[in-house]
Amino acid sequence: MEQDWIWGLVGGLLIGTGGAVYLLANGRIMGASGIIGGLVDGTGRNSATERLIFLAGVILLPILLYPLYGSVDTHVSSNPLVIIAGGLLVGAGTRLANGCTSGHGVCGISRFSLRGIVATVFYILAGGITVVLFRHLLGVI
């Protein structure tokens, strides 16, 4: 669709505003992998409620907006190997690197963090190579 970039920009501004609220109000970095990962490995035990409430908002708003769209096709792969390998790599990789697209990308780059910029360069490069390899050479995705 031609308006995709406008909705991308609108959505981006909403995401950034969410990050600004989390930072200025609660003093926290809005990084999805950190918020989830802290619940998984117990390092976020002391702020578990805050993390769970944040994630409830992440899940609930799409539920409220969904009726306006009727249906949303996420074009997700139904190849179990692709999905399971992808999930494991995203989970372990983001925790090992202490951040993902929201933490290193949005919150890191916006404060000119060298770590955020380096992480973003590496995950975009790895993502691009993976898509080209698995789509154009192997035909898996």
Partner: protein, 143 residues
């Protein structure tokens, strides 16, 4: 108040991921696929998100968070082995499935069974990371 703001921030994050189309794996992979029918949307999402955050960071020095406490300390600027290795692994998984942690959660209500399989695998990967860190430190001298 802290919980109210957490819900507001999460809600804005979820709404933004939804309306931007970032839970559509085809749009993410379409942006990463520079040799295919390139989709520029992700760049607008990133750019749009960085603007309010960059403004927010300007309010941090010399102030305290609204609900009290302290702002996160300036973390080390050191580029470590785990940062590079982890980000490369993350990028590979992101390219394979077209999902990163935020959209993986935002899409759970409507994405169908494969989004749940992805989420469970992602949580398993996160749970295994402390072990992976130990193994890596034995294998290669840290930093």
């Amino acid at each position: 108040m802290r919980l109210l703001f957490a819900f507001l921030a999460g809600g804005l994050f979820g709404a933004g991921l939804f309306v931007s189309g970032m839970t559509d794996t085809a749009k993410v992979q379409g942006w990463l696929d520079v040799f295919g029918d390139w989709d520029p949307t992700l760049a607008f999402v990133m750019g749009g998100a960085i603007i309010p955050m960059a403004i927010a960071w300007r309010f941090v020095p010399g102030r305290r968070p609204l609900v009290g406490g302290d702002f996160p300390a300036q973390v080390s600027s050191q580029v470590s082995r785990n940062l590079v290795l982890g980000s490369t692994m993350f990028g590979a998984g992101w390219g394979l499935a077209g999902l990163c942690p935020g959209p993986a959660i935002a899409s759970l209500s409507y994405g169908g069974v494969w989004h749940w399989v992805f989420a469970v695998a992602m949580l398993a990967g996160m749970a295994l990371t402390p072990l992976l860190r130990v193994k890596l430190d034995r294998l290669i001298v840290a930093d």
